[in-house]
């Protein structure tokens, strides 16, 4: 039933950063769009696996382990002659010497809505900001990060309780269909609608620092703290805090709708969960945390630190 002339299928080269792109690579390869795969800064295991798969499928492969190796990219592209180059979390900025292969040929798939969430970790930022929806944005690339003309933002709902890990997996799976949709668009469209980014609503987020992942009990309400904890799990292990002068990371916690009369950051009670007072008269119940002694449940923590009340940071 499908009518599809394989001889005229567009050739797409995919530049990626690791396993986040695997579902997209599999689907694009299955649909015979891929002519080459380039990986930047990947682990040896992932590079070996991709190289093996590419060889078996007769697809070009190249690893770009550092900025210096990027000097070889243009010659490689010239050799493969792709119709388009897709970037999925590729870690290096592509310089003009590479983009000059064709400015309407490079498309980046940004795992966050643009122009509102520019930067390297939009998944962290949307969770931290308690958004209910994120997006994968397909945009043409220029020599600045995340600033080229937008083709579309494909929205994805954020479920309550989504962590960085859960949302990353969801986006990785959705990325497969979005890149295939883009490939089909390139295959069938007579022109690709696109528009410049609205700079008045743009925001660039730098890579999160300790100050971004640190719980400030005096300023953050309970919802904000839970959002930060989810946004830090698992890439930062958890959200940073201080307890008994020791640096800890809170990995799993939930909202406790119980008022209190304590200072924000005080341990109100410690049973199966460590219940902490928040500034909005709510509490958060910590279930799992990481200390210098290892990752543990709240109950295990209670045995190690039998102090009924204390104040965090």
């Amino acid at each position: 039933m499908p009518v599809f002339n394989m001889d005229t299928t567009k050739k797409i080269l995919v530049l990626c950063g690791g396993k986040f792109a695997f579902p997209a690579l599999q689907l694009l390869a299955y649909e015979k769009f891929i002519c080459g795969i380039g990986i930047g800064k990947g682990s040896d295991t992932i590079i070996e696996a991709l190289e093996r798969e590419s060889k078996d499928s007769n697809i070009g492969f190249k690893s770009f382990c550092n900025k210096k190796s990027m000097l070889e990219m243009r010659a490689w592209i010239d050799d493969l002659q792709p119709d388009y180059i897709f970037c999925i979390s590729f870690p290096f900025l592509l310089p003009e010497t590479i983009l000059s292969y064709g400015h309407d040929k490079f498309i980046n798939f940004h795992p966050g809505p643009l122009p509102q969430y520019r930067g390297v970790m939009p998944i962290f930022e949307v969770l931290k900001n308690q958004e209910t929806e994120t997006a994968i944005c397909a945009h043409f690339m220029n020599s600045k990060f995340d600033e080229g003309n937008i083709i579309f933002n494909d929205p994805i709902a954020i479920q309550k309780g989504d962590t960085y890990g859960k949302l990353t997996v969801k986006l990785s799976e959705r990325m497969a269909q979005v890149t295939l949709n883009m490939a089909n668009m390139l295959q069938f469209a007579s022109s690709i609608p696109n528009q410049p980014q609205d700079e008045t609503i743009s925001c660039y987020y730098e890579k999160p620092q300790l100050s971004d992942t640190y719980i400030n009990w005096k300023r953050m309400d309970a919802d904000e703290i839970i959002a930060l904890i989810n946004a830090c799990n698992p890439w930062n292990i958890g959200a940073d805090a201080t307890l008994f002068g020791e640096q800890i990371k809170i990995i799993v916690a939930s909202l406790l709708h119980e008022p209190h009369e304590n200072q924000p950051g005080t341990i109100v009670s410690l049973n199966d969960t460590i219940n902490i007072a928040c500034e909005d008269n709510m509490q958060i119940a910590i279930e799992i945390l990481s200390t210098d002694k290892g990752i543990m449940t709240a109950a295990q923590f209670a045995l190690l630190y039998p102090v009924p009340t204390s104040t965090l940071n």
Binding site: P155, N181, F188, P193
Partner: protein
């Protein structure tokens, strides 16, 4: 002047499908007082050619500047058009037979599905069979109809309600290949089995003829989904036996003011009202709501989608509203049976309104497909 685009499919056995879809929309808009709206059509063949579908939609959006596009296509083709509508910031109303189950029900604010719910009806028809006491069933379909995942919903529903699918029979799609003879052996081995039957168009006629010729007076228990109750086809189909029932999406016998108006209006245009004109007639109300929302929300698609999710209206088959998780319309479904006309042809009899439609739909959308896939891109019943 506002412009609406409609992608029209064609079908060998529903030769008037394009005219029916167009007339339903035109008459629906006129009935709602908007015959000032320009309708632009594009042909998409059987709805299977990606290039043709994409280019047709692109033309309606970019050349005709259509405010809204309506298309009789399936989920897979809608997925192909998704980036185009996202990029163009325009709304697509998919007129969906509901024969397929999508691999994912991801809601896109730009795409709303207005459905006849064949898979959902198939699922409820299977439940009827178990309620009637059948614990064994055979799934009977053809090469074409069997390629859609209503096959999965009907068999899964029968199994979940305690039944066992004892046999499957999928016949060919050419006249000379079409046979139900293997059912004789199956029914000898598994007597007292219900026949969960999935056919559309001419195949319904051929199937009923086969039952009449091979199983006369045996009154085999046959259960049908909505497309098995398509009245235009049934009116020319020989009545086969006394035990054919299932779930209908609509009938000219539904007794309501809205249905009476629809029937009279379409009949006055010289056309026979059917499932296709019904679907596009109803889409007129959805389209006008979208146009109103476009104006109200200044083209902000997210807000338009939220507005449409809370929209409900009375159509010929009853009250229609949207499930906000999937942007799919929900309409009443009807317990129905096939009766004979004085001329010995088939006629639909509406028994009652089916209960728990929305709950069943929700269940269907969360059901794992267990790696079942469909390769059919065609708009359903378009071959």
């Amino acid at each position: 002047m506002q412009t609406i685009g409609i992608l029209l499919a064609r079908s060998t056995y529903y030769q008037t499908i394009g005219f029916d879809l167009y007339e339903g929309l035109r008459s629906g808009l006129k009935h709602l007082g908007r015959n000032d709206i320009k309708i632009v059509t594009e042909n998409i063949g059987f709805g299977a050619d990606k290039q043709q579908c994409y280019r047709s939609a692109e033309k309606l959006l970019l050349e005709e500047d259509a405010s809204v596009v309506i298309a009789y296509i399936g989920h897979r083709m809608a997925q192909l058009l998704r980036p185009l509508f996202l990029a163009a910031n325009k709304m697509l109303i998919v007129l969906d037979a509901g024969a397929n189950l999508p691999q994912e029900w991801s809601a896109c604010p730009n795409i709303f599905y207005h459905s006849l719910h064949n898979s959902l009806g198939a699922s409820l028809a299977a439940k009827q069979a178990t309620n009637d006491g059948y614990t064994s069933a055979g799934m009977v379909t053809g090469y074409y109809d069997g390629g859609y995942l209503h096959t999965y919903s009907i068999s899964k529903s029968f199994e979940e309600t305690g039944g066992t699918i004892s046999f499957n029979h999928a016949t060919g799609y050419k006249t000379e290949d079409f046979t139900i003879e293997p059912l004789k052996n199956h029914l000898e081995e598994f007597p007292n089995s219900a026949l969960l039957s999935l056919f559309s168009g001419d195949f319904v006629q051929w199937y009923f003829k086969g039952i009449k010729n091979s199983f006369e007076e045996q009154n085999l228990p046959v259960y049908l989904p909505p497309f098995g109750f398509e009245e235009m086809m049934l009116s020319d189909t020989e009545y086969p036996s006394n035990n054919i029932k299932g779930i209908a999406a609509w009938s000219k016998k539904i007794n309501s003011v809205e249905n009476k108006i629809f029937l009279e209006t379409i009949t006055n245009t010289g056309r026979i009202p059917n499932l296709f004109s019904l679907l596009s007639w109803e889409s007129a109300a959805i389209t006008l709501k979208i146009i109103e929302l476009i104006d109200e929300h200044k083209n902000n698609i997210s807000l338009i989608a939220v507005g449409l999710q809370s929209f409900a209206f009375e159509g010929p088959r009853g009250r229609i509203y949207f499930d906000s998780k999937t942007n799919t319309s929900i309409a009443p479904l009807y317990n129905a049976s096939i009766i004979a006309t004085n001329e010995g042809k088939c006629e639909v009899q509406i028994e009652s309104e089916a209960t728990g439609v929305f709950e069943h739909f929700e269940k269907l959308t969360t059901q794992e497909l267990n790696n079942s896939t469909s390769a059919w891109y065609n708009s359903y019943a378009c071959i």
